[in-house]
């Protein structure tokens, strides 16, 4: 099986990370910002997996990518619960309108 040139994996990972960063910077809705964070984590995972295929005995990159996935799942669960409570409190999920600590 002829593998793909690993530089292409790294470039795709860099592109995913940059697009995720742009989403985090641009979007106003809290859930879309969370999606941008997921995109950035996926870009990092592509990088880790691309390097990990040259390490078939220990697979350190893939193990780290697995733990990144676990932490991302926990993070998105807690963050969505917080967004839900914020929406109940302020009746909005737009980040620009959340400008006071107590209503």
């Amino acid at each position: 099986m002829q593998p793909v040139d690993s530089h292409l994996f790294l470039i795709v990972g860099a592109a995913l990370f940059s697009i995720g960063l742009a989403v985090v910077l641009l979007k106003r809705h809290a859930i879309v910002v969370l999606m941008g964070i997921e995109l950035m984590l996926n870009g990092v995972n592509v990088n880790l997996v691309a390097f990990s295929q040259y390490d078939p005995d220990r697979l350190q990159g893939q193990m780290l990518a697995l733990f990144v996935m676990v932490v991302a799942a926990a993070e998105s669960a807690v963050a969505l619960a917080i967004v839900l409570q914020v929406y109940r409190h302020f009746r909005t999920a737009q980040l620009d309108e959340l400008n006071e600590l107590k209503q």
Binding site: H7, I19, M35, Q53, S76
Partner: protein, 185 residues
Amino acid sequence: MIQLAFYAFASLSLVGALAVLFTRNVLYAAFFLLLTLLGVAGLFVLASADFLAIAQIMIYVGGVLVLVIFGVMLTHKPEAPNDVNSQQPNRIASLNRAGGWSGWVLAGLVASGLFSALFTLLMRANFALLNQPVGWKSTVNTIGKQLMTEYIVPFEIAGILLLAALVGATYLASPLAKSFRNATR
């Protein structure tokens, strides 16, 4: 053939990510995120990480994305007048009093600057690791052994973290949380 599959999955994930960036509808963004996650799972298969591809599909597509879609639907407000332009560009702290375009310009500059810097770095870098030959074999056995030997402590900590996150998310999201906190005080 493998090259073709690689380009197909890479373009699928990149197009999905760009569509998340440019769409104005939150629900469409969630569905385009689904495309991106599936493309990344395909890239994992091509990088000989079959277990991680399945884990990606099960955790992200099956768990995180369903959670995100629930969040979108629970925080949707169709009667609000500002919901139509809810995906207008973000205002970045006092730089953007005038209009939405400077936010796009600033974020585009930051993101494309980061990407071009990474691109030139990756093009110039000569990783000694990447010149080795690579074979393809299933990684499930190795990952199982590693999880039970070398990574046993992070594995258990990840289990405790997931338990704490689920209990905390359930408590935070429940409508009883606020009244309960007020009652105990």
